[in-house]
Amino acid sequence: MNLAKETVDWLDRRLGVRELLHSNLGGYLLPRNVNIWYTMGSVLLALFGLQFLTGLLLLVYYVPDTEKAFASVTAIMNEVPYGWLIRYLHVVGSNLIIVFILLHMLSVLFMGSYKRPRELTWLSGFILLNVGLVFCLTGYLLPWSQLSFWATTVATDAAGAIPVIGDQLVAFMRGGATVNEATLGRFFALHVMGLPLVFFGLVGFHLFCVRRIGISKPPFGDDYLPTEVPRSFHHEEHPGGIPFHPNYTVKDLSMVFFALALLVGVTFFAPWLFIPPDALEPADPFNTPQDIKPEWYFLWAYQTLKIFPSELLGLASQGVAMGFLAMLPFFDRGLERRPSKRPLFVTLYLLGILLFFGLSLWGHYS
């Protein structure tokens, strides 16, 4: 007890940690009506941490060589003690991260929290979703299974529809005319080094934005009224609010526990949800498996490409949809955030969700 106090004293004299801790924990006040959706960020941070740890551990035994990759993954699953656990946590974790990013995004959209002055928070978050998807895509190739090989072939092939530079772009992404050892090399480097660096930088920026501008007040309850955004920088305060620590951190913690329970549950009882049969066969560049389908989070894009008459139109429509979402706070400049006062937005929001599910299901069953 005394030792702890003396350590903090020592640090306090040099870095002023007491003030720092107070202003970010006990003295950091959240809006009184803060709700459960505000815990999504903490859940995601915990899952990222676990993903980093399991990824690091897999790197100990994984061999990024087309001749050895599949065998090394088989060895991780069968010979290395608890290798199956580490790998399944990594696989299931990646899928859960996409789920929670989507939930986080949907709640921010519904509550209008993306609106000015929080455009940069939204934009960095949206880029994080895309980096997360590229993480999934690059990680997919590494086991060098039939699924890895053909999913990557089909995914990179789509870029060929872009006029003029399409073919060069495909060859550049693959490092050759077809998916080969050069593709594995660059995807591996991206997955374990390039993307994590970008990702951590972006997460840092995202958190900085959240803290710097101040957390947004949920647009619910009788006392909520839209306020004019000041013309100069202004940190939004919530006087008389709930202390972040320990009052709200314990809620964050309990949601992290529930998310981990879900992760462990799927890992132990249904890991095959995310390991289709083709993922169990080593890659064979001369034999395309039948009915190859992308992962669930790419199904909407897959189906979009199928329903447009040309691939270029399909790609362009995806680009427009994603670009529109990314730039939403720059178009949507009204101050009103209460869903009940934004019928048009809520209608579009629900239609968007339906479209996502509809296209995904259509893609899955077609």
Binding site: L53, L57, V60, E79, V80, P81, Y82, G83, L85, I86, L253, L260
Partner: protein
Amino acid sequence: MSEIPATSTERRTFLGLLLGGIGAIAAGALGWSVFRFLSPIDRGNEDSQVRIARSLVAVGGAHFFAFQGRPAVVVQPAAGEFIALSAVCTHLGCIIKWQNDSQDFLCPCHAGRFSPSGQVLSGPPPSALDSYTVTLDGDDLLIG
């Protein structure tokens, strides 16, 4: 005492301890898995024998090989007499060399010398080299 309802602080302390305990068990489970994941894999061939062709070991010569994952050496100081030893110097772990001229082992790191049977002749090594049994099997030597 028991009739007075616990204060929220008391309840909080109790629940906090419980939560800490659960967190510790979960962290322990993960920690144990990671520890086992990183521990050397027991491939179950620790006591398996190594077979070496007798012709590889000249009279007065030495042959180096891997035994149980470590460097080892077999020498034939006199015709028909085979000795198998660990090739790891007992001083600081360098790999010893066979000196054909003097018919003994020299450790190149700090000039420790060992006899063909593994005994320390001179220098800093604190103890003799580990030795392994050698069995003749036709044209082969079975070591271990």
